[in-house]
Amino acid sequence: MTALAKARFARIVLPRLDEGYRLAHWLTGSPTDAEDVMQEACLRAYRAIESLVESNARAWFLTIVRNTSYSWLERHRPSKLTSIEDLSEDTRWEIENGASAAANETPEDILIAKHQATALQQAIEMLPVHLKETLILREYHDLSYREIAEVSAIPIGTVMSRLAKARHILAMLVREERP
């Protein structure tokens, strides 16, 4: 059955190396860590590929990359896993939401000029890894809420709150960066 595995690997995984790498890069925060994660994720994918039911191969591969990233972080960078979600979700939300409502932002406040792309990038890097994950799966990989829920193994409600939170924090962080 190796021929099947090879053909599937060539068709399903190889075209998605770059996509997987970018997810691993954001989650681990380092290009070399991302390469390590991808090595491991591809090996896992290859070993499991014969038993894959090809309904959503893309979500399947992203799930492997996502899970490998987390187990890799647990082993090598446990400090990066401390999560904002350890705080009470409501408390957290009120703090953030209250603060920004007071600031009374306008679209102009949020409009991101070219020189602010760097600030935004840094802001994304600062996000807790769970929020970053949901944001990337939505805004880069363009997955639907249902697909994100599948990849991250969380309820759709959590996808919604993480996404709202992530965007909210970014808006605040970027505004703080402005002169």
């Binding site: 690997f9 190396l17 890069h25 070993r47 409501d90 996404l163 709202a164 965007r167």
Partner: protein
């Protein structure tokens, strides 16, 4: 007026096109009469658009593809000849030949592939056996016939392979026979006995005798391998069980072999 949490969630879902048609209509109506909400939506749209510009980041380095192929190359290399039968579409054929090309390219300069080639010379059979063992592990059951009775497992091999191994049950020593299967090794069907040690599976492959060397073989991708000969056959055991247990298993198994006269 502050906007409550649920409304923010709805607004995000609206922006992402995730609301049902009726929810979307309701949100349209709210946006028309609540200017603050409309401002929030504009803000959301600009942060989302800006995020989309930043998120792609850097592309994967070119070497990633080559090193991924090298690391799974051990599996891929084994049956390159199978490739000719497999691709049903030219598309796949192209993808597959690109892979082979990359593997070949990496072999010219790549250290990883160099060490692979050494391993190929030293232990192609072992590699194939480990691959078959790992493949069996991802199947629902690592055997085709489930039985702890060696009088069931042994005859099951008749007619499926020409090799007649001994199939001792070592349950009393902590290595329970759980079944048998037939693997294709070196292009030939060969009998494989599966044993259970705690939660680990041990695959014992029987081959027509190849050389006289016995003992532990360097582990392959974390799978421990040991081989021994007896009764005109070579037995190769592969497992993720620790090397000490695997050696103990090999010793017990050898003791069951018919004594040479």
């Amino acid at each position: 007026m502050t906007i409550d949490r649920d409304t923010m969630l709805l607004l995000n879902a609206y922006h992402d096109g995730e609301l049902s048609p009726s929810e979307t209509l309701a949100m349209d109506a709210r946006l028309a009469r609540e200017p603050e909400l409309a401002l929030r939506l504009d803000a959301l749209r600009s942060i989302s658009a800006a995020t989309r510009k930043v998120l792609p980041g850097e592309a994967a380095p070119d070497r990633l593809r080559a090193s991924v192929l090298a690391s799974i190359g051990q599996d891929m290399r084994l049956n390159d000849e199978d490739l000719e039968v497999s691709p049903p579409t030219p598309w796949q054929a192209i993808a597959a030949s690109v892979m082979i090309g990359l593997l070949g390219g990496a072999a010219i300069g790549g250290y990883a592939v160099h060490s692979l080639q050494q391993r190929q010379a030293a232990g192609q059979l072992e590699s194939e056996i480990v691959t078959a063992h790992l493949r069996a592990l991802i199947a629902p059951q690592p055997f085709d016939i489930a039985s702890s009775d060696n009088h069931v497992v042994k005859p099951w091999f008749n007619g499926r392979t020409t090799i007649a191994p001994i199939t001792p049950d070592l349950a009393s020593e902590g290595f329970a026979l759980i079944g048998g299967r037939v693997d294709l090794i070196g292009g030939k069907p060969v009998p494989v006995m599966t044993y259970r040690r705690n939660r680990h599976t041990i695959s014992v492959t029987a081959l027509e005798r190849v050389g006289d060397d016995a003992g532990p073989v360097p582990s392959i991708n974390g799978t421990n391998v040991v081989k021994w000969t007896g009764g005109g056959l070579t037995y190769i055991a592969a497992s993720d069980v620790n090397p000490v247990d695997l050696a103990a298993f090999a010793k017990l198994f050898r003791e069951q072999l018919p004594k040479p006269r």
